[in-house]
Amino acid sequence: MRPVILLCLLLAIGCDAAIDQFPANDVYALTLAHSRDVRTELAQRDVAEVIRSLFGTPESPVWPSEIFDGEAKSLVKSESLTAAAGPIFSDREGNNFGLFNKHCVACHGVSGSGAGPAAVFQNPYPRDFQAGVFKWKSTERSAKPTRDDLVGLLHRGVKGTGMPSFALVSEADVSALTDYLVYLSVRGEAERKLLAFAIDELGYDDSEDDSSEFLIEDADVHQIVGEIVESWLDASKRGVPVPKEVASNTDSIARGKDLFHGQIANCVGCHGPGGNGAAVTLDFDDWAKEYSSRIGLTPTNRDAMKPFRQAGALRPRQIKPRQLNQGVLRGAGDGKAIYRQISQGIAGTPMPSLTITKQESATGLTSDQVWDLVHYVQSLGSQPGDTLP
């Protein structure tokens, strides 16, 4: 290390690793290569070019509003990108720049892959924004979070994980960060979808042919990116309505307890009796499954994971169902949030959704019964719904 430092001194031109472009999503490319049994270099090369020309670089990110219409144009504001990207500094008025590098990059990484420098020792790992899947939200399982969900998340943080609360960061900065995170997510998802599209539809899979013909058409790009942006705009329409709460009393809690330990909901199967976490589970989250069990590899097999680790993936880490009797919830934590989590499950995790029925039945629960479960869950933790002051 010392020679490197001395070298820096001699050159006196900051020899910071130049971040002139976003790192490519090699893990996903390898996943595709493995599941389709194809080579992906050509597709990766061309997709990288498309993505760069649309979204710019970490130092000067771009929101490609020219290819969108209507609301999509302003989903991400370019001032926000200016404030969030690039080196950290602040101006005389106290405006801060380089916010993502300042607050997030050590964990979430330059491209939002979740494999930032400090990711290894964390459990759960920091979120990979590129898959476009989020846990703590008020919307349907398959929907994106709303803007309010994200701002709330940044304010609240996620207890018991590495995700900090940014309550002490100014509202303007949080807003810029939110935009940047949506930008990274859209960019990352576009890269993934385009790569899959190029390989599955455009004949980039032909390993024999190394013609360097550029096959990706603008129309397809606009279509794919457009759909992703649409899903973000749709989020506000896909909020999970929460029906009227049934009275929270010992009866409701007792009913909830039965349901929790009963056949239909079978919460006990994962969370253990009384939510004590004693159930034995061996499961992984969707981000890890994508490059392991979903493509026929064992997540715990080090040799099988090795190429993925070399491509930049983190070693798959078991996900444990929450120990509910500790009273620590990672989502918003209020009754409505728990209602939504129980009915929708938690996206990206094994926690399943329930079928909500009008009448009590053998296959689903009524909304009143879900509320009973909420009350039971709340009764398990000593301080349910504990949020930041």
Binding site: G14, F89, S90, L168
Partner: protein, 352 residues
């Protein structure tokens, strides 16, 4: 630290012990100023305030000392600490100038004068490094600046030690007092032990700086490796301090003012404190690591970005690191002196 060989003892015997008292006082003053300077500098990094003032050597176009104090005191916090760091740094610079001048006028040992000059050059270099870091917006230079600071601090401590009165008094042989022959021989290994403490202490600072000034593109495995080294070295250092204490304890009876067992004992405590602060630093930044998840409160622990107490813990970790280096340096330089004295004492004894 470039320690030049001790001049002949004849030179020293002539000299009046009070002559360089002013040099010693200035050296102590610089030590007392540099530690807070390291704290403020650490806060600058903790708050990412290094770029709160985009120009240098001016502050927003103003001369450093003419920057309106109201804007400074009432402005944003990061401007407050960055400009404060610059002002305090400038004060240390003036003290270093005074030190070199005083050493030139008052100090009879030429190597001490040159040492003072080296300290002055170092502070100039450090200031320039800080400035270039701002102008170039370089995180790497910020890291180098952060690593050089503690080295400078250690140099100030060494200067204070060599100009101290007890430094002179500790060598009766220098004054031809051959009568005192009970000076125990200080083995070479004790001096080497002091050097090992310094080396390990500094290695820890460099490793820590790698973690603190992490490059966004660093691979997670690289970061994890540095973390592991940093933690392992911490415990190695801690055991070496225990050995050091035991060694110094054995010298206890010999050396009057220059006893070293007290600082050696303090060092054990400091390294322990540093390990606790280091754990706190990790928790404040990244939460409870997986292997400590069983710790009470870990399950519901919430990291608060830019929390005040969190920043204090992190910065205290940085400042204590420098302190460990400084105390190690003191032990090393003094043990070296003791060895020198005990050797010359026995030579004198042999001659008579």
């Amino acid at each position: 630290m470039n320690m030049e060989p001790e001049p002949s003892s004849a030179e020293l015997t002539k000299d009046d012990p009070s002559s360089s008292r002013i040099v010693h006082r200035l050296a102590v003053l610089s030590v007392c100023l540099v530690w807070p300077l390291i704290w403020v500098g650490g806060l600058v990094t903790t708050y990412d305030a290094g770029m709160a003032v985009p120009d240098w050597p001016n502050t927003y176009g103003y001369n450093l000392f003419l920057y309106p104090y109201k804007t400074w005191l009432l402005g944003p916090f990061d401007l407050f600490i960055e400009h404060g760091h610059r002002l305090l740094g400038a004060v240390v610079g003036f003290v270093a100038i005074g030190l070199a001048v005083a050493a030139y006028l008052k100090e009879t040992r030429r190597w001490v004068f040159w040492f003072a000059v080296a300290v002055l050059l170092a502070v100039i270099f450090q200031g320039a490094l800080g400035g270039i870091r701002v102008v170039q917006m370089s995180r790497t230079l910020a890291m180098v600046h952060g690593c050089f600071g503690p080295a400078f601090f250690a140099a100030c401590v060494a200067l204070a030690v060599v100009t101290s009165r007890s430094w002179r008094d500790s060598c009766p042989a220098d004054r031809g007092q051959s009568a005192i022959t009970e000076l125990a021989q200080v083995p070479r290994s004790t001096v080497i032990l002091g050097l090992v403490l310094v080396a390990l202490g500094y290695t820890q600072l460099v490793l820590g700086a790698q973690l603190r000034h992490v490059q966004p593109t660093m691979r997670p495995d690289g970061f994890a490796t540095i973390v592991v080294f940093h933690v392992v070295t911490a415990f190695v250092l801690w055991s070496v301090t225990a050995v050091g204490y035991w060694r110094m304890r054995k010298l206890k009876s010999c050396c009057g003012d220059l006893t070293l067992w007290r600082p050696a004992a303090a060092l054990i405590g400091l390294v322990l404190l540093q390990i606790v602060l280091g754990t706190g630093t990790w928790v404040a930044n990244y939460g409870w690591p997986t292997f400590l998840q069983g710790f009470p409160g870990a399950t519901g622990f919430l990291i608060r970005a830019k929390g005040f107490w969190d920043s204090i813990v992190v910065t205290a970790h940085v400042a204590t690191g420098s302190l460990i280096l400084a105390v190690s340096t003191m032990i090393w330089v003094r043990s070296w002196r003791l060895r020198y004295c005990s050797q010359s004492a026995s030579e004198v004894a042999n001659e008579t």
